[in-house]
């Protein structure tokens, strides 16, 4: 049960436990912030699993991921 759906945070509710997110359908869905709430801001790209925010994605994370994939391939070519 690892299904995760990317979404954009539209608003963090006052209690900082919940947020409204858009999955791309233009509708605000209420979800729980499952991870450390100080990290979540309006406009963030997050992964939501069954109504729980489980991860936030940043440009730096994406860059690191691409570097990992390229390093994996480069390492093989050098062997």
């Amino acid at each position: 049960m690892c299904w995760g759906v990317p979404a954009i945070v539209r608003r963090v509710l006052e209690d900082r436990i919940r947020a409204l997110v858009d999955f791309g359908d233009g509708i605000d869905h209420e979800v729980v912030i499952g991870i450390s709430d100080e990290e979540i801001r309006e406009g963030d790209t997050v992964i939501v699993h069954a109504g729980v925010i489980i991860s936030k994605i940043s440009e730096e994370d994406l860059r690191e991921h691409m570097e990992y994939v390229e390093a994996l391939l480069k390492d093989q070519n050098e062997e």
């Binding site: 049960m1 690892c2 299904w3 995760g4 990317p6 954009i8 209690d15 436990i17 919940r18 791309g24 209420e30 979800v31 729980v32 912030i33 499952g34 991870i35 450390s36 709430d37 406009g43 790209t45 992964i47 699993h49 069954a50 109504g51 729980v52 489980i54 991860s55 994605i57 940043s58 440009e59 994370d61 994406l62 860059r63 690191e64 991921h65 691409m66 570097e67 990992y68 994939v69 994996l72 391939l73 390492d75 093989q76």
Partner: protein
């Protein structure tokens, strides 16, 4: 990565899809690497040497089948599915108890796949919550616990949420309990399970048969690991001396994880490696882990078709017993001496979830057991191996 790729709020999501789902050139490069490593394995270990790579998570199996990844992997490498579907391993007993509650007037909220999960024994002629609802029971399908909270807040009826899932879902329940956001008439029947103990158990069982190809590595669940951290898999990697790669769920993620496992296998290296760099860290989310620990305790738990696995389930702590449906409704927790094998006659789900058999090895597959009329638990959820194979075609290998 170019700036224009990220020029809107949907930029990251579009970029992930463009690269990790649709980049054919990148896929080709990784497949070439996999083939070259497969040749190296033949050279080092002999032409007949076969290995298995186990994926633990139903969503990984979904990606493997949906994108036809098995057809891209050379014949000496077998991809096998593990027990990574919490619906498939939920014991019949708890579903029976939920049906009883629903027929007695309690409103039961659950996810769509649990709604269709069959019991071994009928409860007043109902073999599932779906059948109970047809008989007039108050069962509501929701897509999240927050939906249940919103609905329960609008009515006064005694209500129970059937909480099936892995560590990914737990911090949601924890944070809502701690912040007292759950209405008084709603309690949680916690059937949340922990994945590292189950991975350990599965690998031990698979290693009992030395005649089988060895497990060369494991693709570990990426979203569970956003919470528990990649570190959670260290005991598995060290005990079995295999590479464990925590991976994302797009086809490129899975191919990269296979390449990483093979790369480590030929070098005879083992450890935990993160492929899913964009979403998780080594330590995971410490705030989420702390919330889980504060509200839940680990207990021995039954996995349908598999058995009791020590400390593999989460039950609500006494400090939060006001939210515990077991406590509120005096439901006795399942004990090993009362647990039965829990699978219908001739069903081979137990072997499927342990990577010992493929769905097509089961005599019931697509005969008596189909996604429309599931007979065994692996055919119910979209993350069950049998349901995935049924929906997206299947191969003999």
């Amino acid at each position: 990565m170019k700036a224009e790729d990220l020029d809107s709020s949907w930029g990251y999501i579009n970029y992930i899809e463009k690269i990790f789902r649709r980049d054919r050139d990148l896929a080709r490069r990784i497949i070439d690497m996999i083939r070259s490593l497969s040749d190296r394995i033949r050279k080092d270990y002999g032409e007949d040497h076969r290995i298995k790579i186990m994926n633990f998570c139903g969503t990984h199996e979904w990606s493997i089948v949906r994108y036809g990844l098995r057809s891209l992997v050379p014949g000496n490498i077998e991809l096998v599915a593990g027990p990574g579907c919490p619906v498939c391993v939920t014991p019949s007993y708890y579903i029976e108890k939920a049906i009883e509650l629903s027929l007695q007037g309690t409103r039961v909220y659950t996810y769509g796949d649990v709604f269709r999960l069959r019991t071994l024994r009928p409860v007043e002629k109902s073999y599932s919550l779906e059948e109970a609802k047809a008989l007039g029971a108050d069962v509501r399908v929701v897509s999240s616990f927050t939906d249940a909270i919103i609905d329960a807040s609008r009515q006064r009826r005694d209500s129970v949420f059937l909480a099936v899932g892995f560590e990914t879902i737990a911090p949601g329940y924890s944070r809502l309990m701690i912040s007292e956001k759950i209405p008084e008439n709603l309690s949680i029947l916690s059937l949340v399970k922990l994945t590292p103990p189950a991975m350990f158990y599965s690998l031990e069982i698979l290693q009992e048969k030395p005649t089988e190809p060895p497990i060369a590595g494991v693709i570990a669940p990426g979203h569970v690991s956003t919470i528990v951290g990649a570190k959670a898999w260290t005991p598995v990697a060290e005990n079995f001396e295999i590479p464990v790669v925590v991976a994302g769920f797009e086809p490129i993620d899975v191919l990269a994880a296979i390449a990483e496992i093979l790369r480590r296998y030929v070098r005879r290296e083992y450890g935990v490696y993160i492929e899913y760099e964009r979403a998780l860290s080594w330590h995971g989310d410490l705030g989420a882990q702390s919330a889980i620990y504060k509200t839940f305790k680990a207990s021995d738990d039954a996995w349908r078709g598999i058995g009791f696995i020590p400390y593999s389930g989460l039950r609500i702590r006494r400090e939060y017993k006001m939210y515990d449906a077991l406590e509120r409704h005096s439901i006795e927790d399942l004990k090993p001496e009362k647990w039965s094998y829990d699978l219908p006659k001739a069903c081979r789900c137990a072997e499927v979830v342990l990577g010992k058999a493929k769905p097509i090895d089961c005599p019931l597959f697509m005969r008596a057991c189909t996604p429309e009329k599931p007979y065994g638990p692996c055919m119910v959820s979209m993350e069950g191996a049998c349901a995935i194979w049924a929906r997206y075609s299947f191969q003999s290998r």
